[in-house]
Symmetry: C2
Subunit: 353 residues, 2 copies
């Protein structure tokens, strides 16, 4: 027994998901949708960098791919924003497919676009399928996993989560959107103009946490500060001298009754170890009890997002119809070998031949 999977989006995350799925029993890749015309009719094996063919041709016509299979789980990875992806998601839902998207804003779309969230929920329910947003961050390490940890607390006064990571392996686009290599002045101008964006998803992570805890926040405030090199930092893509910007420290705070109750800090930079900074994820809960959790080094972003998107397939398959969040579903879990045992037979109708 295999559940069919369609990839929508053919970037690095999709390539990783495809490779992971090929390692597993119980999942079957049946289609792939790309935006870039040069991928049309390319064999999926070639498209994801394998030296073997998979017998599945990449298509640019989404409708064609979605219509070919009666029911599948669509792994969607085309864009970060609800406004950009909502049309694609609606199309896949209308075609009768469950969806897992790694669009950052989709982990809690009510935060940025409540009307769109309501519409997607309605469309999903109409088709009897489910739609989930996930990823390592947002989607897990600074929200879902934090919520689970609060489960052992009798009370919570404040939650602080810090994720320190290394952007040293990333190319020019990330350098530009994080302001790396700029002067402090250029960085501040870039933030003001919206060219330097920092992290995407803080509003969503804070909203997911606060809704899970039953907190009604007054406001969510964000800031983006330059991280300045004390020593020269060099990557294959950029060389930044001391005094220039090597990253963006993005901070978001959720306030309730005028007090900060959730603080998320994500200083993203190249080669933090050069200045003695260790990467890691840190969760601090002030409450009863106090809890301090550290993961060192941090859970890596790319493989983490790939893994959780694929691992959630059985959860979405079993979920109630509609737009759901990571907090609505049973615990995520790795499935090291065979997914087949995780699909209830009575729900497989339409999914398998």
């Amino acid at each position: 027994v295999s559940v069919k999977v369609i990839l929508w989006g053919m970037g690095e995350m999709a390539k990783g998901m495809a490779k992971m799925i090929l390692e597993k029993k119980g999942l079957e890749l049946v289609g792939a949708i790309a935006k870039r015309k040069e991928k049309q009719d390319m064999d999926l094996g070639t498209a994801i960098g394998l030296d073997r063919k998979l017998g599945i041709l990449v298509e640019c016509d989404a409708a064609k791919v979605l219509a070919k299979t009666k029911r599948a789980v669509v792994l969607h990875s085309t864009n970060s924003f609800v406004s950009s992806v909502c049309g694609e998601l609606e199309q896949a839902l209308n075609a009768g497919h469950d969806i897992i998207t790694i669009a950052e804003e989709m982990i809690y779309p009510w935060a940025s676009a409540p009307e769109v969230a309501q519409k997607l929920d309605r469309v999903a329910k109409g088709s009897g399928v489910s739609l989930l947003g996930t990823g390592i961050n947002p989607g897990f390490i600074m929200d879902t996993f934090v919520i689970a940890l609060t489960g052992v607390c009798a009370s919570v006064d404040k939650i602080t989560v810090t994720r320190i990571n290394d952007l040293g392996s990333f190319g020019p686009t990330v350098m530009r959107t994080q302001g790396i290599g700029k002067s402090v002045r250029e960085f501040e101008d870039g933030v003001a103009a919206g060219r330097i964006v920092g992290h995407i998803g803080f509003k969503e992570s804070i909203s997911l946490i606060s809704s899970s805890l039953g907190w009604k926040l007054d406001e969510i405030v964000q800031s983006r500060e330059p991280i300045i090199a004390r020593s020269e930092r060099v990557t294959p893509f950029i060389r930044v001298p001391a005094g220039k910007v090597v990253g963006c420290k993005h901070i978001a705070e959720g306030k309730m009754n005028g007090r900060v109750v959730i603080r998320l800090e994500h200083p993203q930079q190249i080669r933090p170890e050069v200045d003695g900074v260790l990467t890691g994820d840190c969760i601090v809960i002030q409450g009863i009890p106090n809890i301090r959790l550290n993961i060192n080094p941090e859970v890596p972003g790319s493989i983490g997002t790939i893994a959780i998107a694929v691992n959630m397939i059985p959860r979405v398959f079993e979920a109630r119809p509609g737009l759901v969040t990571m907090a609505d579903l049973p615990l995520p879990s790795a499935i090291p070998d065979d997914f087949a045992g995780f699909f209830q037979a009575d729900k497989l109708e339409g999914f398998v031949d």
Copy 2:
């Protein structure tokens, strides 16, 4: 709107749960069942150590308390073992109540007593109610939380969890069951005779993890080793000289295809800091990616168990009927203030007046 709660068991955990519930909106204590006759007709406020009355009298007649309310969530904390608690659980299920029990073996009763588990599942379904086992350990820190963390892994080779805690605040019973104060020889004799038991729940934790990952284990092997004082260690209850036993290092290993894939280590001892040992919870996942997580100091056991039992009330309330595990339900979460918003109106019938 309040959901009614009955306490079954009047030990320290129940007292903590009662106090926590009194701090929350949306939960209402309506009954308390004690075993010891001297608590009969004691006001619950007095029974839990408050200097005020709550207007609820503790009863030793369980049937009477269970019949008084049409539908409640029973917080059950009388004993560790399935064989000891199954009759009580069945009685409460037959009376139409949901149950959250902190009986260690109930976090995954299929491990020690599959027939009893099946029967409880059947009885719960017959009454249209749900039964969950939880707690800090087993129930969360060495199983549920570990499962959630594997969700970001594309593959998992081995899971190792270590929980180092301090038994310095515990009294004579715990000293005896852990072999504290004994010679090494006496400790080994006590383990062989079953007087020194170490931790309860390893088989259940390993089974919960392996079932979540889809691993079919060959066997679960346990050992209990003495922790020997290098320096004298003193608590209000015991003084142990160097060379004698200050704790029990309980280890359980789950093997698959002859290889250890899950290893849980729980060295429980008095005042580990005297010999330079820091308390903490450590989760190591060897896989893709590798993850190393530390919580220092460890999440405290008593308040952690109290909190997660109470925090799971809305999850059990919404659960499908039957015997469920922490891995079947949505993420645990603290509910700092008001539980009322977490109960769906259409499920409240029978629960509220």
